[in-house]
Every structure is written in structure tokens, then in C-alpha cells.
Amino acid sequence: MSTLEIDRVRKSYGHFEVLKEVSISIGTGDFLVLLGPSGCGKSTLLNMIAGLETISGGEIRIAGKTVNELSPKDRDIAMVFQSYALYPTMTVRQNIEFGMKIRKVTQADRAKAVKTASDLLQIDHLLDRKPSQLSGGQRQRVAMGRAIVREPKLFLFDEPLSNLDAKLRVDMRTEIKRLHARLGTTIVYVTHDQIEAMTLATRVAVMKDGVVQQLDEPQAVYDRPANVYVARFVGSPAMNIVPAVLEVQGSTATAVIDIARRPAARIAGITLSSEALQRYAGKKVLVGIRPENFSIATGAAPPSLTIDFDVVEPTGPDTLAVFQLGGVEVTARLPPKQAHAGQEAALSVDTSKTVLFDIESETRID
């Protein structure tokens, strides 16, 4: 168990810069998720933590110790790969024991470790099979077992669930969460699935093109995304980003959004710092509204906007209603049966959850 500090780490292949000054630091027992689209450099960063890729610049410290020059085996880490990377010619037991044999763990201790891990993961009946005789979920468990017996300071997971079907993925997700609660080991986990990130992480690092966009707790990333990119990447359906003009009344602001053939929408009561109020008064901004922050206006509060629904998609627990706002398509998540295609509706917006972004830099305005 230990801390991990990634300090201005860079990586380039020739002239191609994959990682540009990445800095992340997490504490003992943290569950860090590296979240980002394909090709953004997540695996590269994970491999550098593991010692499988050289570091072009900066420093990586595990438990306070610089590991830049250490080979993987000296870093006290364990890793689970996307393809599981089970040794195909060895049985499950031999797979799990392989690392221990290299570290010259005694036969008795090996047997004990295998027993503990296989009980924990419920794979004791599979120990004498070859990887080719296992299902995807079972292979996944074996790969985790191989990592667990190492008792490392740091677990590294590279998209461990992406080769599983949807149902199994949810089950294994819970399993990994339980494992983390039980072992308490620090984990770095790579995924491009934002739901995995939200459910598992204690800290999320959202990456894009080799740059960390935001490093925070999952709920904070969801509620207060650092920029438009993060706002769109986290959450499904994505946050609606709509151009608006900011009007300032005293200590709060109102975002005014054009609607075709209807009066402009007015989202009032947005709180901002006085600096921001001053700077953006009368200026164009981007307003970010999560789909679930729309609701059908009731008598009590005046509606923020009146629109016509274009398309309505019932999903079961709720209904996604699509309409035009400020020249872009916007999705609202409403209770079932409250919206119908072509229907006119008055909606209100939860202003406390509304975020604003600078139209140029696309970063959040506080």
C-alpha cells in the first residue's frame, strides 16, 4: 500500500508527443481511474508506471521512492491486462504461481497464496485448467488472482473489463470494487468507460491527447467539469452545452438562450464570483445543463423555457426528450410518459447544477 506521484511526466515516440507534462498524485488506498478516449495515452502512462515503457521526462514515485530506473519486477506492482495475458501453456495454478516461483517463494507459501486468492475469486475449481478452457469472466478472475498473490504496493489495471459482455462487466465491476474495499491496496485503473470510472474511482483523471484535463473525485468531475471536453465526456447522455448571453442582476446571473419562433429562454439565479460577474456581464458564454436537471415546470416556479419536443425516447425508468435550444439539439431526462413528440412544453432548470464555460477557452467559469 502506498502513494503514487506522477510528476511532470512526458513521453514521446520520436517527434510524436504522447504524454505532455502529466502530473497526478494520489494517496494510500486511493482508486485512481485514468479516463479518456482511445489513443489519449492512458495505456502508455500505465505502462510507464509499471516500468514497461521508458520515461522521456519527469519522475514517477511509488511510496515516495523514485522508480524511473527500476525494472518492473523491482517496483512492487502487479498488473492486469486487457487481454488478460494468461500464459497459454500453463494451467491456472501455474499462471498464478509463475511470479512467485521467480521470486523463489517456497512451495508451501505458494500453495497458501494460491489457496487464498482462488477462494477470494472463487476460482478454486479451475486451478488445473488451461486458459483456453476458461470463459472470459473466468480468465479475468485468473488474471486478477495472478496480481493478488503478488501483494503489491500498487495494482495496475488496463481496461480489464472491456473484453467482457455487458452483464459480466457489471458483475466484475462490483467484484473489483469489493476487492479494493477488502485489500485496501492503491489502484490505478485505465478505462474509456465513464460509468466504470464513476462507480469505481475515488479519484478520476480525465485525459485527452496526453494532457490531464481534470483530476478530482468522480462526483466533482460530474458536477463541476473543468471544461467542455470533460463535461461532454462524463455522463450519458452527455451534458448539453448551449450558447447563451449572460445578464447580471446584482449577485446572480441569468443565461439568456435564443429559441426559434419562441421567446428566449431565461435561466435565472446562477451564482458566480463577483469577478466573473463583472467579466462576463453581457458577454457570450456556454451553458452546461445535465439532462436530468430539466423538469416539467409546475405551477410553483415560473418556467425557464417553453419549447416543442422533436423526438421522444422512452428508456424505461425515464424518457429522453430531444428539442432545439439556442440552435443546438438538447436532451432532457424526464419521468416516463410526461413527454410526447410534437408536444409543446414548459420546462424549468435546476440552476444550482448549471455550469458556465468561457466561449473561447471552453474552461469552466466559477
Binding site: A50, L52, S71, P72, S83, A85, Y87, T89, G99
Partner: protein, 291 residues
């Protein structure tokens, strides 16, 4: 109904034509083997009597015996036996060495890529297509300088030198399809360069080891150019000795002995082909089918 019938009749006719073509070609391909075997079992008089394609009237192993232990190669009348042994002594170390070296080269060129690894592979790849006439003279000189001229170890060295081009190609193309994560996992487990090769990579490569061994065995056993260029007399491999037997011009030509000798030279590779034909085909197409 009638139309459907004639349809299926046409289809059946088509099948018959296909099978007939295939069978005729198969017979044509088998004919030389049949002629070799049957001629080798006939007494010489029967052959000169004009029996070429037919079954032997009298079956005799005399020709085989003569080819194995009595036929004259040059001035020595020892039969093919010592040359068969020469070929074995040459082929076994050459196959083992070239396969082993090719395996480790393929491992390095895929799992431990260094800058320029692809260029190194390109250099070796061209070696597969080298017309050996282009190196014959320098190789003869070099073997002479090393004191290996006309010796079996010299031939082994030559076959290993050019064989590693092929074996490296085989193993590289096979290892490319093994996921890199496998080596990474082993590295995290603490295994080093040789340990990963020995415990993780090699056990997964039995098929390609077989392919490589068979390919090398066939190539080296069947080689004639190196044998005839770099050896002479009693150190020759079997192909050279066979050619000498066949090209003897004195006396009445003993076609049955020639054919028995050809069969003796052919049997090892034929056996390998029959036992492991699947792997043989893989080796054959390795240079052509993208890996």
C-alpha cells in the same frame, strides 16, 4: 419438376467432370513415384526387355541392396550408406542450430524491438532469396581459410548461416501474432529476457518449431549446390553421391539401381512429408502468406 431434375443432373455431371480431372492429375503426379518404385524392384533384364510402367514380374531387392552398399561412386564402391550417414551428420546439427537461433532471433525482433530491428529483419529476409551462386566463390575461399573445406562441419556452418534467414522469418511471423501483453505480464512477474523466452514464449511455439525443423530438414537434406561445391569424395552428402551413381557412364546402365538410389535419397524427406505434411505446407507458404 423436370427442370429441377435436369438441373441436378447437370450438377452431377459437373461433379463427375471435376473428380475426373482431379484424378487424372493425381495419377500423372503419382506416375514418376510409381515408375521409380517399380523399376527399383525389377531385375535389370526385365527392364531392358521393355517393361517400363507395368508391375514387376519378378520382385527383387537386389537393386536396393546394390544401391545401399555396393554401387560405385567415383572409384569407391561403397554404395550410398556412408553418404546417407554424412547427410544425417550434416542435417541434424544444422537443423537444431538454425532452428534454435531463428527462434531467439524471432523473439528479439518482435518482443524486444530496438531501433533498427525492422532493418535487421529486412537484411535477413533478403538472405532467403539469395541466389547462392552469388556467394559460392567467397564461401569456398572462406571455408578453405577456416580449414573447414570439404568437411561436414563446414557444410553445417554454411547451412546454418543461410538457414537462419528462413528460421528467423518463420519465428518472427509467428511471434508477431502473440500479444505483447504476454511478455509484459511476465516482466511484471519478474521474469527476465531468457526466462520469458524459455518459460512463456517457447512453450507456445511448438507448431512453428515443427515447421522450422521440417523446412530446414527438407532444404538441407535436398541441397545439392553446397554439397557439390564444398565437398568432394567421401565427405559428400547423399544428393551428390546419388548424382554420381546416376551419371556413371561405363558399362550397361543399371536403371534399377539408379531408381533404388533415388528412392533411398528421397525416403527421409518423403517420410517427413507423410508424417507432418500439414507443417510442411505451412513452411512452404510462410514466405508468401502475410504474417
Amino acid at each position: 419438376m423436370a427442370e429441377a431434375l435436369s438441373q441436378s443432373g447437370k450438377a452431377r455431371l459437373g461433379r463427375i467432370v471435376i473428380y475426373t480431372c482431379l484424378l487424372i492429375v493425381a495419377l500423372l503426379y503419382l506416375m514418376p513415384l510409381w515408375v521409380m518404385v517399380s523399376t527399383s524392384l525389377k531385375p535389370l533384364d526385365e527392364i531392358y526387355g521393355g517393361s517400363f510402367i507395368g508391375l514387376p514380374k519378378v520382385v527383387t531387392l537386389d537393386a536396393w541392396r546394390a544401391a545401399w552398399s555396393q554401387a560405385c561412386i567415383g572409384t569407391e564402391c561403397t554404395g550410398l550408406k556412408p553418404y546417407f550417414v554424412n547427410s544425417l551428420l550434416m542435417v541434424i546439427p544444422a537443423v537444431a542450430l538454425s532452428t534454435g537461433i531463428g527462434a531467439i532471433n524471432g523473439y528479439i525482433l518482435t518482443k524486444w524491438k530496438f531501433p533498427g530491428a525492422n532493418f535487421v529483419f529486412g537484411l535477413m529476409l533478403f538472405g532467403c532469396f539469395l541466389p547462392y551462386q552469388a556467394i559460392l566463390i567467397p564461401m569456398a575461399r572462406t571455408l578453405g581459410l577456416l580449414g573447414l573445406a570439404g568437411s561436414i562441419p563446414g557444410l553445417v556452418a554454411v547451412h546454418v548461416s543461410y538457414g537462419i534467414c528462413f528460421t528467423t522469418l518463420f519465428f518472427r511471423n509467428y511471434f508477431v501474432s502473440l500479444p505483447d501483453e504476454l511478455t509484459k505480464a511476465a516482466m511484471v512477474d519478474g521474469a527476465g529476457f531468457f526466462r520469458i523466452f524459455w518459460s512463456v514464449i517457447l512453450p507456445t511455439s511448438i507448431p512453428i518449431i515443427v515447421v522450422s525443423c521440417i523446412w530446414q530438414f527438407t532444404q538441407i537434406w535436398n541441397d545439392f549446390l553446397f554439397g557439390v561445391s564444398f565437398t568432394s569424395g567421401s565427405s559428400s552428402p547423399i544428393t551428390v553421391a546419388l548424382n554420381n551413381i546416376v551419371n556413371v557412364t561405363t558399362g550397361r546402365k543399371q536403371y534399377n539401381v539408379d531408381m533404388a538410389a533415388a528412392m533411398i535419397a528421397a525416403i527421409p524427406t518423403l517420410v517427413v512429408y507423410i508424417v507432418a505434411g500439414r507443417y510442411f505446407v505451412r513452411g512452404l507458404t510462410a514466405g508468401a502468406v502475410k504474417g
